[in-house]
């Protein structure tokens, strides 16, 4: 020990300080959300409608985030692209709505506690069912086709078709209408803008989930393994962690979150069909692509952008709502071809 200190060179190592713009660079996408909100404010002349639209855009964004986060992690971790993710959304919605219909005594009661308990029970049931479903889906559909994107897309699409048909078998072919629980109906007025209560709840729930997910990924050992696995699965495997088991866990968690998102979406739309998962997947794909495949933060920002964009354009020019999101995707991919916050793969 003494030897090394004696012969150590005089100078201390220096870290080159990054300039402000260089340090801001990775976080630029975060600024897009306030920029879009501001642009919306300038385009929409009435501040109260702007506030209403912003809240519903955020609510929609949160729900899309809940659904998309699992998919982006599954892709990042194992390079598996799951087109059947939408099936979990539909299944979650149907299970959740069935539970809510059974608990109609609780949802109809004018007590916020009972209402929230019923919704919570519906969400837990949906998550349990879609989690188990995800486990089966991973084993039967995804596992035999590792390494081949072409086969993954085909097989998971097949899985989506079968799952949609199974919903028809179990619940019948008709759409189901579902009213919101008594205390979540109606709206509150803030600064002259009417804000639906349920949307505020959805925003809150989405934020809580994002914070929890981030905390798990940042501060727990499991999160560390997952993040390391996204960057370099072989190395994590070499360190002695069973990456396949971690992957199955993430897949199941992602499916359960999609089921939860399905329940949230069902209460948002107040109507469910077997095909709803597929419809939402279109927005989810846009979010996952612009966020950067494998990045949870990018997914969150992407979801907010898509949700806000959808609501602003639906107000300004209803026919262009979906096209505007395609334009958003094109613009972002022109700017950053790998998505806003790409995960750098160690390969």
């Amino acid at each position: 020990m003494t030897l090394s200190t004696e012969h150590a060179p005089e100078h201390a190592p220096k870290m080159a300080r990054l300039s402000l713009s260089e340090r801001l660079q990775p976080w630029l996408p975060v600024l897009l959300v306030p920029a879009l909100v501001l642009a919306g404010y300038l385009m929409i002349s009435s501040p109260s409608s702007w506030l209403t639209l912003t809240v519903s855009g955020l609510a929609m964004g949160m729900m899309i985030f809940v659904i998309a986060s699992g998919m982006t992690l599954v892709f990042g971790l194992m390079d598996v692209i799951n087109f059947g993710h939408g099936a979990f959304v539909s299944f979650g919605a149907f299970v959740g709505v069935s539970v809510l219909l059974v608990l109609s005594g609780m949802t109809g009661a004018p007590s916020l506690l009972l209402n929230l308990l019923a919704v919570g029970a519906a969400m837990l049931a949906a998550m349990a069912v879609t989690g188990v479903l995800g486990l089966g889906f991973e084993r039967i559909i995804v596992r035999p086709v590792y390494g081949s994107h072409l086969k993954q897309i085909l097989v998971t699409m097949g899985g989506l078709i079968v799952a949609e048909q199974l919903i028809h078998v179990i619940w019948g072919g008709e759409e189901i209408f579902i009213g919101r629980p008594e205390m979540l109906k109606g709206s509150v007025t803030v600064f002259g803008a009417t804000l639906e209560k349920y949307r505020l709840v959805a925003v809150g729930l989405g934020l809580v989930l994002f914070v929890i997910m981030r905390a798990v990924l940042r501060n727990t050992k499991l999160g560390l393994i997952v993040r390391a696995g996204v960057e370099n699965p072989e190395m994590v495997q070499a360190m002695g962690y069973h990456i396949r088991r971690v992957f199955v866990l993430v897949f199941v968690a992602g499916s359960a979150l999609a089921g939860l998102g399905g329940v949230m979406w069902a209460l948002y739309q107040e109507m469910i069909t077997a095909h709803m998962g597929m419809e939402i997947m279109i927005l989810v794909f846009i979010v996952v692509i612009i966020g950067g495949l494998g990045s949870v933060e990018g997914c969150f920002i992407g979801a907010l952008l898509v949700g806000l964009m959808q609501n602003y354009t639906a107000f300004l020019e209803p026919k262009l709502a979906l096209i505007s999101n395609i334009a958003l995707m094109v613009a972002i991919l022109m700017w950053r071809p790998q998505g806003m916050m790409p995960v750098i793969k160690a390969k």
Partner: protein, 352 residues
């Protein structure tokens, strides 16, 4: 002669050759063999779907690219004809203008999407085409001023192609020829030509490069082929053929609407047919389409019978309900991707 027509790509199996011959002869003489209107309708649909599926096979089976926008291109051809006849009046010039315009639009669109998304990452292509196709679908049903919205548009075609036209006073081989039959032969021959052209394309050096890219894009690039260029060209070509098939479909059906040309269901049908028939074989499109259309017509009846027969059991009748036939097809589809990626044709050729 046969070698020239088939571009040297022989069926390589007696059973397959026999099946293809039966299908060809049946379709060629369909008006005489099955005089009913409904069976003529089915025969024309089979012709058009063979081309549509074969053009998709060029993309999926040969280039290894998954696209969900194929029906969008199909619809562009169909709507091209519809809009042109509405604006220019009934006539062959309108049909030709519409076909050319629709095909050109599809090609330009395909080029744009291909350059944009294949440049980034091939896997994005599937997701981006899905998003764009559904956006276009929504737009078509909303822009009712141009496209007729959800109701679609009726197309007025020249009188020579309608049932009202009777070219001969006497029946030919026991059949009263009408314009409808002439229209059928227009469909049959244009589809036959398009199929043979596609067969020519996949057996050309260009097709070989596509297969090389499918097997190993990195190596193909290293040998010196511009992967993006070849993939983009395959996309454009398959989109153009799909649009042509759409134009023929519109002329045959004399109607276009979002559900008949742009629907997600048709896209899924195409995917199922390609995989079950055999990816990367072209003949798979023929076999797959015939099996699919026959299954659509007869499997449903059989399932209905089976569902009634098992009505005393729980759940089983629901699973066998004719409306659930897509589920069984989905299961068949998953199994074929696992176990016979080269489909029925690959099995018959004995190298699955």
């Amino acid at each position: 002669m046969i070698r020239l027509f088939l571009s040297g790509d022989h069926p390589q199996s007696r059973v397959l050759a026999a099946l293809l011959l039966v299908i060809l002869v049946t379709l060629a003489f369909a008006p005489f063999l099955f005089p009913g209107t409904r069976s003529l309708e089915t025969a024309a649909r089979i012709c058009i779907f063979i081309v549509l599926v074969a053009s998709y096979d060029l993309l999926l089976g040969y280039a290894g690219i998954v696209s969900f926008a194929h029906t969008m291109f199909f619809g562009m051809g169909a709507y091209g004809v519809a809009i042109a006849t509405q604006r220019m009046g009934t006539g062959y010039d309108a049909l030709i203008t519409g076909t050319v315009a629709g095909t050109a639009l599809a090609a330009v669109f395909a080029l744009g999407i291909a350059l944009f998304s294949l440049r980034v990452r091939a896997i994005f292509f599937a997701m981006i085409t899905l998003a764009i196709a559904s956006a276009v679908g929504v737009l078509v049903s909303q822009l009712s001023g141009i496209t007729g919205g959800e109701d679609g548009m009726n197309i007025r075609i020249p009188r020579e192609l309608t049932p009202a036209f009777r070219p001969f006073d006497e029946p030919v081989m026991g059949l009263r020829i009408t314009g409808r039959h002439l229209n059928y032969y227009l469909v049959f021959f244009s589809c036959l030509i398009m199929f043979l052209v596609l067969l020519r394309v996949v057996n050309s050096p260009f097709g070989r490069v596509l297969q090389a890219i499918r097997e190993n894009a990195f190596r193909a690039e290293a040998i010196g082929y511009r992967v993006v260029y070849y993939r983009a060209m395959a996309t454009v070509l398959s989109a153009a053929v799909a649009a042509l098939a759409g134009a023929v479909f519109a002329i045959w059906l004399r109607y276009v609407g979002p559900a008949t040309t742009l629907g997600v269901e048709i896209m899924l049908d195409i995917l199922l047919i390609v995989v079950i028939g055999g990816m990367g074989t072209m003949y798979g499109a023929v076999i797959g389409t015939v099996v699919f259309v026959l299954a659509q017509n007869y499997l449903k009846d059989w399932m209905g019978g089976a569902s009634d027969a098992t009505s005393f059991l729980p759940l089983v009748p629901d699973l066998l309900n004719p409306d659930r036939w897509l589920m069984w097809l989905g299961i068949l589809f998953i199994l074929s991707v696992y176990f016979f990626p080269s489909g029925v044709v690959g099995r018959l050729r004995g190298k699955a």
